[in-house]
Symmetry: C2
Subunit: 128 residues, 2 copies
Amino acid sequence: MRIGELADRAGVSVRSLRYYEEQGLLTSTRSPSGQRHYTEIEVERVIFIQRMYAAGLSSRTIIEVLPCTDAPSEENSDAALERLVLERDRITDHINDLVQTRDALDGLIGMNRAHRATLSEPATSLRS
Amino acid sequence: MRIGELADRAGVSVRSLRYYEEQGLLTSTRSPSGQRHYTEIEVERVIFIQRMYAAGLSSRTIIEVLPCTDAPSEENSDAALERLVLERDRITDHINDLVQTRDALDGLIGMNRAHRATLSEPATSLRS
DNA sequence: CTAAAACCTGACACTGACGTCAGAGGCAAG
DNA sequence: CTTGCCTCTGACGTCAGTGTCAGGTTTTAG
C-alpha cells in the first residue's frame, strides 16, 4: 500500500509517516519512481509508535525499544529490553503522579461544590 | 520573599516564575525599586501550577481553573468549576490509556524474557 | 564603602513533533 | 491526452515552556 492508505489505516498524517522514516522508526520499500510502499505489518508498527508517543516517549527512545517488537524472538540486544523495562517503570511513575493529581482535583471539585451547596441552601447538607 | 527564594521553595526556575506572571498565572507585589515580592501562599500556588503542567494542562487552561483554588469559597464562576471537571476527566482518560500501554509493554517484556529463557535453557520453562 | 549576589527588562535560542507550502513528477479513468 | 489526485523533496512555520545572554539597577555581606 502507498503512504496515503497507511496514514488512513493508522490514523496519522502523511507528514508524520515521512517524519517517522526520517527518524528511523519506519522503513519503506520504494517503487522505481520513488514512491513508498508498505505492508500490513507497518500498520501495526505505526500504531505502536503512536502509542509510545502518547505515553511520552521521544523518537530516540522509541528507536531503542523497537527491536523488542521487530523480532518477537532473536537476541534483541539487552539494551532494548532494558530500555523497555525502564520506560515501563517511568510510565508507572507517571500514572501514580496523575492519580495523585486527579485526587487533588477531586478534592478541589468537592470543596467548590460544597460551598456552592451552602450558598443555595444554607440549612441542608449534601444535595444530589 | 523575593523571586529567588520562591523559586527554591517551589523547585522551579526564576525564569519560569516570570513566565507564569507573564501568563497571568501568578501575581506579585512590587517593591519601590520594582522587585517582585511574594508570600507563603504563592509557594503553594506555584506548586499547584507545576502539578497542572505535569498533568498536561496548558497555561491557558490552568488560568481557567485557578479561580477554584483562589477562593475556596465565592462563586468561582461556573466556567472554572466546569473546566476543572473536564480536565479531571481528561486526566482519567489519560491514566486509562497509560495503563493500557503499560500492560502492552508488560506483554512485550514477557515475550522477550520468555524467548531469552528458551535460548539459555531449552528444556525448562519459567526460571526466576 | 565596596564587591558579590540577586534582581530587572527585553529578546533571541531551543527542542520536538508536526503543519504547510512550493515546485515537480507519477498514475488511473474518462 | 488530460484532468485530477497522489506522491516526492526540501524548507520554513508553529507552539509552549524554558534556557540564556546582555546591559543595567538593587540589595546584602563584609
